[in-house]
Amino acid sequence: MMGLFCALVARDLRLALRHGADTLGAVLFFILTGTLFPLALGPSPDLLRHMAPGIIWVCALLAALLPLDRLFGAELEDGSLDQLLLLGLPPSLVALAKITAHWLTTGVPLLLAAVPLAIMLGLPTSTLPILLAGLLLGSMVLSLIGGMGASIVLGARRGGVLLPLLVLPLITPALIFGAAAIDAARTGLPWAPDLELLGAFLAAAIPLCPLAAGAGLRAAVE
């Protein structure tokens, strides 16, 4: 079963590789929206440094949402979803495999792109490890909750519009703790509690979101 799970993830990675433009799109969107803020807010280094955690987190959140409606949508349209559900894997594991692939193709590149963006916004280099640790946990939470949302709106008309409305409110705790951890590190306050809360959020999402997503996939093919 584990081998089949990995084979499904590998298939999705191969698909992402073949459609490189789609995969790069999210990262470019992240960097571009991040660069818009200095242009809009003015070049004051103090202001940008102050706002950097929030900017990076909000941009990462929105960028990770971009590929979500194709995550299961493409599979439903060409009939692949039927075949995936008949693989003999529980639907929740099918969903988890797709979510893992989403994290590897969107979350990890965003994590890497966050470093130059943070430096550009003038975030002190000492806070970079906290930023990355927070984004590492946060991007996983995002993929899980996003995957759950994507499977729930699957088959709905205008699902792409519905998806952010469903996912963004659910993801706010991760945003709050993630941005707060960087702020705490920047001002010399203890940052560990924020990251621990983020980790707790992830620990709850790992078992629950695939279950809900699996039920969503079942309902979508009915």
């Binding site: 459609h19 060409d78 008949l86 529980p90």
Partner: protein, 217 residues
Amino acid sequence: MAESLSVFRGDRLVLDDVSLTLERGGALLLTGPNGAGKSTLLRVLAGLRRPDGGALLWDGEPITHDRTAHAARVAYLGHQDALKPSLTVRENLALFARAGGGDMDAALKAVDLLHLSTLPARLLSAGQKRRTALARVLLAQAPLWLLDEPSLGLDAAAVELLGQAIATHRAQGGLVVATTHVPLPLGEVSHLALPGMPDQSRGWWGADETDLRGDAA
């Protein structure tokens, strides 16, 4: 195997009290007009869709008890070929070869696709795509084949290959349920004719058309 199944689509009853039984090595051909519920019945048999009434039994065990276990017993060919255009034939099938444990080369050979196996699926013709989807059915190594118009887009030679594959499968004790509008080389086969819409006057489009007329007036 299936007892008095009923299925609704929206508020329309597509399958009303359908019963069927299939023994080892048996084949069943579903016929009926468009919209009679042939594809719906196949999806119910595959466990993709829950019947709204009735029960589906496999060796006396209701399949709803463990739908994942039932999924492993089923090879389903839908009316979509479910291929990713950017992956090659082999890459498209690799996941399913792994799941079913079938031999890739043998399956490709059975549908005469060995020479095209490294081509991306987007370059295949409709018939070649259908043959790739048939290769996936072979790879699943599942006892129950559910084929939704398997001969769609196939040429005469490929239909013959399909007939051979089905004969081999049945000789090994496999079951086949197929829908079709054209004759299929199935050998000895039982028939189940679905009667079509239970209520013709208020059918698929009926309700919408009435609504539209209401708006216009």
